[in-house]
Symmetry: C2
Amino acid sequence: MIPPGARLADLAEAAGVSTATVSRVLNGKPGVAEATRLAVLSAVESLGFQLEDHRGADDGFIAVMVPEIGNPGFASFATELSLQLSAAGRHMILCTAGPGATTEVAYLDALLGVEIAGIISVSGTLADRLASHDHYERIAAAGVPAVFINAHDPKIDGAFFSTSDAEAIAMSVAHLRQFGHERIGLAIGQQRYQPARRKMDAFLGLGFTREAIVSTIFSVEGGQAAAAKLLDSGHTAIICGSDLMALGAIREVHARGLDVPGDVSVVGYDDSPVMAFTAPGLTTVRQPVAALCQSAVGALMSAIRGLPTDSTEMLFHPDLIIRQSTGPHHGS
Amino acid sequence: MIPPGARLADLAEAAGVSTATVSRVLNGKPGVAEATRLAVLSAVESLGFQLEDHRGADDGFIAVMVPEIGNPGFASFATELSLQLSAAGRHMILCTAGPGATTEVAYLDALLGVEIAGIISVSGTLADRLASHDHYERIAAAGVPAVFINAHDPKIDGAFFSTSDAEAIAMSVAHLRQFGHERIGLAIGQQRYQPARRKMDAFLGLGFTREAIVSTIFSVEGGQAAAAKLLDSGHTAIICGSDLMALGAIREVHARGLDVPGDVSVVGYDDSPVMAFTAPGLTTVRQPVAALCQSAVGALMSAIRGLPTDSTEMLFHPDLIIRQSTGPHHGS
């Protein structure tokens, strides 16, 4: 629907498209490229019009917790959640907890003083087995529904949606074994985080030993340090717990004058936006971000309407995106 | 200072470092690697301790507005602002406006109902000359101080800190001219945005014509489309308005069977986190994100304390980060 007071011609000029295209976008018709659709929506907003009137502050904000917004994996969740929540008529406020910044606990305490309608936490403290989970019990006691992505604690009242780490490891290992790799290592972040622990368990379950796992931190430097150890012990392929770790692993291989994938294959995790442009393009596991966010927002809206929540964790299947960082093992 | 109730040994074990290192970090002593410092801070938080007690919700949140959190350039600002605001004893809530999501205007209307102590807007609607700026007049009338990064409107009461687009263009052009390039093109996003317009003006001021400027949108696809036009008209070097546009430009050069930088040189803008890992590594302009954020937070804290704000725009100098996407022009 055309916003009240707006003229099709003005919108078309601001967006640099035809009036027919503007009309098609505003009426939700198919056959419009995503970039064009965004240009039209952006023009509507830039001219000061509201697309819909049902987004009121009365309904209360939805607080979304993410650990590090600088990590492109988490930024993808934040972007998708902002779109899905907006489509559900809600404002998202993003709370970026992290070392040195405001903690998740402090955010939650502060937000309880504000009218918050619900919480979505992505890989938050609930995924940290060393962290206290008491604050989520307080949230539940205060009657604020909470939904969790990539974190599960059966003692907490909420809905839980996660990418299957076991599947991610299984498909990465199968891909590398098809290329003839046997000495496969796992470079992972801190063991206290649930996704790291689950990937380790899955990896051990596939017949690998603890010697093939190096746990550092989820960063480029962490990946490089882990890869150094795995290369020293003769591994020819490295599965990493994040794309940033994989970039660090590739850097270590290159620093030794070796080639990826000629000498060593590397697999990432997340499929962050620009991984198709790295040297080499990164073979990586893509989380089903849109599907996870859609389920999380749907569950939260139901809980806000007072419907009961099922606290069974739902596991989503990831995809292996094959690019150029993996290849055949050349026996030595 | 060690948080009350915490034991050095527990923190050291959780962080995987020595007790001496934990002590050094908590007492703010130098000589500790950044990754180690973050590991210790992360351990303190994961064990449920608060590093400092002065962060109260009573002081009110600081709302930070960014247009797209999926764009790594904006994510860098969000990360840095969360650290700086936390150091200033404030909680940041991040409002990610964008096409199809909640608009900046809707956020501001909703936030006025909550206790907000101040606003920092990064490349927001104030940078959009087609957008209404009335909402920032309402914010000022409501007595909420606002600070702007990379956006300026002298009619609005606030403090303004921007990277110099003119300098960014001047250093990019000088670098390419040193390599012998004369047919230099500018691939830029929508002209209605202030940083785009300022780069265009600076480019024209250096003796280039309007034919050497192609305006599309700030995305990989926008960069590829702009590069196609600039290559068709015989340009040998392309300066892009964002790193994502530069990746699109490189993709277009590769799609034509040409080499970067052998045949065409490409310069980006932002120095997003993984640009050192792209193929080829991207020569790009780095905004002084930390300095901009430090000034913005300092100005906001002064304004919150009731000190008068100077609305003169402060321009910050960027750095040209030279990697492998630029090289000598081979005359044809």
